[in-house]
């Protein structure tokens, strides 16, 4: 075999038909056969897959779950052949029809999310290599010997040190290029091929998130799958505004962690208040849980900045209101921007002397751009300390009288309501406020994600958002609670403990609450969903904005769900996994299950692992506030791995769902005999939009059912399904005939009513022995790599 560059060599490994190659991949280059250790885990069929290599898996998914398209625009404006009207059956100048165009948008959205996580991972890895060296070991703690399950499954690489992620990053970057190229005019035309690329982007997104989080966990010593990570102070009310306040916003922990370092070094930790918003907050509190406070999710950005409490605002990347620097300027806070992706027009002062930058900011410069996190830290701290005393008068909001008089000025045109993404009833609140009753304004706070769109539409220039915040001032100041610091991975150890019960369905499912804060009703709904599932004995995991929304509310006895519930990945556990990139660990949990419970091969063995998720592992993602392109690519990541996801109503604007039709028979295979038979579709949907919290809950219960549920497991799931239906809708569900396989699946306490309903629906029990019912995969036998490898006489150790 000739020597040659990695990626070119790899191509010969990417074969769509499964021939067990005798080559192994280590870091960045292909091993010669003699280098492969005996007993080492064999390589699966698709290490570092390109667009075309997992198309066969996507075909399985997309045959079951057809893309459901909802155009939000009937035109295409991608190239200057257009602008084209694609209404109905019209085609664009280039030949595109509206369906393919939705597929293209879907790809664009997913690849935007993917690129964002990729770029974040890349910057983190580069920065960590620069500051900590390339040899930081990838060590996730002794309870988690499988350090990077997604990396193993997708690339076949077993990373030992952070620089081992470099070839993985190269791989992702190259794939992004191919994906974006497919958007160009005159390329892809088939909706399903667009969707296969979308799913590819999703998988790469999972990989990017894993790299980012593992790199920061290992290099910055974040919690490594701790079941009782420290509690962190949460909420606007925890910020001590008598100290100089530094506020970090975004997703990249680099500047924030350096600020914490700098304060420690200088012994200033107690003199300066450091708080943060969005995922940067999660990650700073994972770094220094006792110092960094979490203000809240994206919905609090403008609310908090407008309050004037922050003296210095440090912005990094992603999901930061693009006019936030202007908000900061209005309250004379100093602004430091730090990311090449969001330079926001500020002058690059990275190489200027620190004294000079500090002076500029104190002299009122609108903001500076500094790429060096260490320098950011020094500038931020010094400016905050000097600036705080000078800007006391900006720390507050318009007073109540002002609000009343502003409200009187409202002409009730409702332009604001029509522009408000949640159509909040502003005009009614203004009527009340004009009469001196601010309670209606205050009520809006919980439902308002603080965007300020209403204000840009008001021809009377009424500062609606400020008025809401002021009206809600007391409740905001009282917002102080505790959140568990993001714990990072689900450990292999925990997985071993829960494998039997979760794997068989006795633990009825894992509910993942993730995504952004544009909830349809209010942030409270996320809390309520979590509570419902915890009380039912599900495992509830949360990340990002959703993990924060849950922390915002307390139970009757004044405790948050984090305080009330244990933090173990097991029935009734309430886990804050971490920031958005920590979502990777949720996907990884199912990989761990496949390994722990069934000894499946991980490396380069994507389809088999995803099949395991899809056909065996009861879980459902709920992205109640899906908003960003990242949320879309995260959902898609779950989908390619076989995990169903429910979006909140705004999710319909993503233009595409994956819906199944349960009555269409779908083929499944016995993993041992390979025998095919037809089954009802299960889970019923892969990507679904729910309109109300109640619908989300009952649907999630249903989507946690799997082909391979043992009888006891299915019985438990049916119990929750029927029970929730009665609880929320006061009646029986109408689709039990698809869910009940045999009478054994029916919980005894509801046996009669259920049987009656089933009879009405013409239900017949499925006449298969238990073993036949549960040894089911969606992949044909010869594509189950573990079995194929065993048949070929290979033997290996799994970790």
């Amino acid at each position: 075999m000739k020597e040659g560059p990695f990626n070119a060599r790899l191509k010969s490994l990417r074969t769509p038909n499964l021939s067990l190659s005798d080559l192994e991949i280590s870091i960045g280059r292909v091993k010669r056969p003699e280098e492969v250790a005996e007993g080492e885990e064999p390589m699966g069929p698709t290490p570092m897959p390109g667009i075309k290599d997992l198309r066969y898996w996507d075909e399985i998914l997309l045959r079951r779950y057809k893309p459901f398209y909802s155009p939000i625009c009937d035109m295409c404006c991608f190239c200057v052949f257009g602008k084209c009207d694609l209404t109905g059956n019209k085609k664009g100048v280039c030949g595109m029809d509206i369906r393919a165009q939705q597929g293209r948008w879907s790809l664009l959205t997913a690849v935007t999310g993917l690129s964002t996580h990729f770029s974040h991972a890349k910057e983190l890895v580069e920065w960590l290599i620069e500051t900590k060296g390339p040899d930081v070991p990838i060590d996730m703690g002794e309870k988690t010997p499988v350090e990077a399950p997604i990396t193993r499954v997708v690339t076949g690489i077993v990373p030992k040190k952070i620089s081992d992620f470099e070839p993985v990053l190269d791989y992702i970057g190259r794939e992004i290029g191919d994906l974006v190229a497919s958007i160009h005019i005159g390329q892809e035309s088939d909706p399903l091929d667009f969707e296969s690329k979308v799913l590819h982007a999703g998988m790469l997104d999972a990989l990017s998130m894993e790299i980012a989080d593992i790199a920061q966990i290992c290099a910055l010593d974040f919690p490594k799958g701790e079941i009782e990570p420290p509690l962190v102070e949460f909420g606007v009310g925890t910020v001590d505004i008598n100290k100089p306040v530094i506020l970090c916003i975004g997703h990249n922990v680099a500047p924030g962690s350096e600020i914490l370092n700098y304060l420690e070094e200088k012994g200033l930790t107690d003199s300066v208040e450091v708080c943060a918003l969005c995922c940067t907050a999660h990650d700073m509190s994972r770094y220094r849980s006792k110092v960094a406070k979490i203000v809240g999710p994206i919905s609090k950005q403008k609310k908090f900045v407008r309050s004037g409490f922050a003296d210095v605002v440090v912005i990094d990347e992603q999901c930061i209101y693009t006019d936030l620097q202007e908000e900061a300027r209005k309250v004379k806070a100093a602004v430091i921007v730090t990311s090449p992706k969001a330079m926001r027009g500020f002058p690059d002062r990275t190489n200027a002397p620190t004294d000079e930058i500090v002076k500029e900011l104190l002299d009122g410069a609108p903001g500076v751009l500094i790429f060096d996190p260490e320098k950011v830290a020094e500038v931020a701290v010094r400016v905050a300390m000097e600036l705080a005393p000078r800007r006391q008068k900006y720390k507050g909001l318009p007073d109540v009288e002002k609000i009343v008089s502003l409200a009187k000025y409202c002409k009730h045109c409702k332009a604001c309501e029509r522009a408000c993404p949640n159509s909040l009833k502003i005009s009614d609140a203004m009527y009340a406020a004009a009469d001196g009753d601010l309670s209606k304004l205050a009520e809006l706070e919980d439902k308002c994600f603080g965007c300020g769109k209403c204000e840009t539409e008001c021809s009377r220039n009424i500062p609606i958002l400020s008025m809401i915040v002021k009206a809600a001032e007391r409740q905001l100041k009282e917002e102080r609670s505790k959140i568990r610091a993001g714990r990072g991975p689900i450990t292999d150890y925990e997985m071993r403990m829960v494998a039997d019960t979760w794997g068989s369905g006795i633990v009825p499912g894992c509910i993942a609450l993730v995504g952004c804060a544009n909830y349809p009703g209010s942030e409270r709904e996320v809390f309520e969903i979590a509570k419902e599932f915890l009380e039912r004995g599900y495992i509830v995991v949360a990340t990002g904005c959703a993990a924060m929304a849950i922390a915002r509310y307390k139970d009757e006895d004044g405790k948050t769900l984090y305080e009330k519930h244990h933090g173990i990945f097991d029935a009734g556990g309430m886990l804050n996994v971490g920031s958005c990139v920590s979502n990777a660990h949720i996907i990884a949990a199912g990989i761990r299950l496949a390994v722990v419970f069934a000894r499946r091969i991980m490396r380069g063995n994507f389809a088999e692992i995803a099949d395991y998720w899809l056909s065996r592992t009861g879980a459902c993602g709920i992205v109640w506030g899906a908003m960003s392109q990242k949320a879309y690519s995260i959902a898609t990541a779950c989908n390619r791995f076989g995990i169903p996801v429910i979006l909140g109503p705004h999710g319909s604007k993503y233009r595409r769902l994956y819906l199944g039709r349960r009555e269409e028979p779908t083929p499944v295979y016995n993993v041992k005999t390979g025998k095919r038979r037809d089954e009802v579709l299960m889970p019923e949907h892969l990507l679904y939009v729910a309109e109300s919290k109640e619908e989300a809950i009952v649907t999630a219960i249903k989507l946690c059912m799997r082909y391979n549920d043992f009888t006891e497991g299915r019985r438990s799931k049916i119990r929750h399904y029927v029970d929730a239906y009665f609880k929320f809708f006061g009646r029986m569900p109408e689709d039990l005939k698809y869910l009940v396989r045999s009478e054994d699946d029916i919980p005894s306490e509801m046996r009669e009513v259920v049987l009656e309903e089933l009879k009405r629906e013409g239900w017949e029990p499925r006449k298969l022995p238990q073993q036949e019912l549960v040894d089911v995969s969606t992949l044909e036998k010869e594509k189950l790599w573990t079995f194929e490898a065993m048949r070929r006489g290979l033997r290996w150790f799994t970790v």
Partner: protein, 177 residues
Amino acid sequence: MISEAYKTGNVPGPLTAVVVDGRTAGEIINAAKNPLFVVGSMLVTEEAGGRRLSEYAIEIAKRLSARGCVTITTANAISVFKDVKDVNTKIMGLVEVVDRLQDPNWGANDKPHDLVVFLGIHYWMASQGLATLKHFAPHLRTLTLCFMHHPNADWSFPNMSREDWGKALEEVVQTLR
């Protein structure tokens, strides 16, 4: 006549809904062979003209049931029909209904539909559902009875106050045979 979309930014393209009043809406429903009534979560929370929205929805659903038509309740809308008699309801998710409506042979009452009527559905979900039907269900016409104008429908009310909405719904009910 056409109207601005309720959500200012919701300008989907050249094709846009025709504005109707309550009486015309009622006549459109009367003229349809097998209209499907789809109601959503706002039935639980909204008021129109001082009455609960669900009251109008139930009236309409009853008259349609009398004609052998079905009302689909999405989300938690079924809860307002708990003690209501003489109404054929079916529970489905909105996206599930819309998905199936793309098939010209599908019917909630096993007969194909020619008209779909929306009421009380989250604005953007309704809008997106109507968009799906506009493009992919050319065999169907769509009508919405919400107070928020929906350009993606074939027929829609204009944007209106809750008071006028009550009046319009009243007209619909009066007009229905």
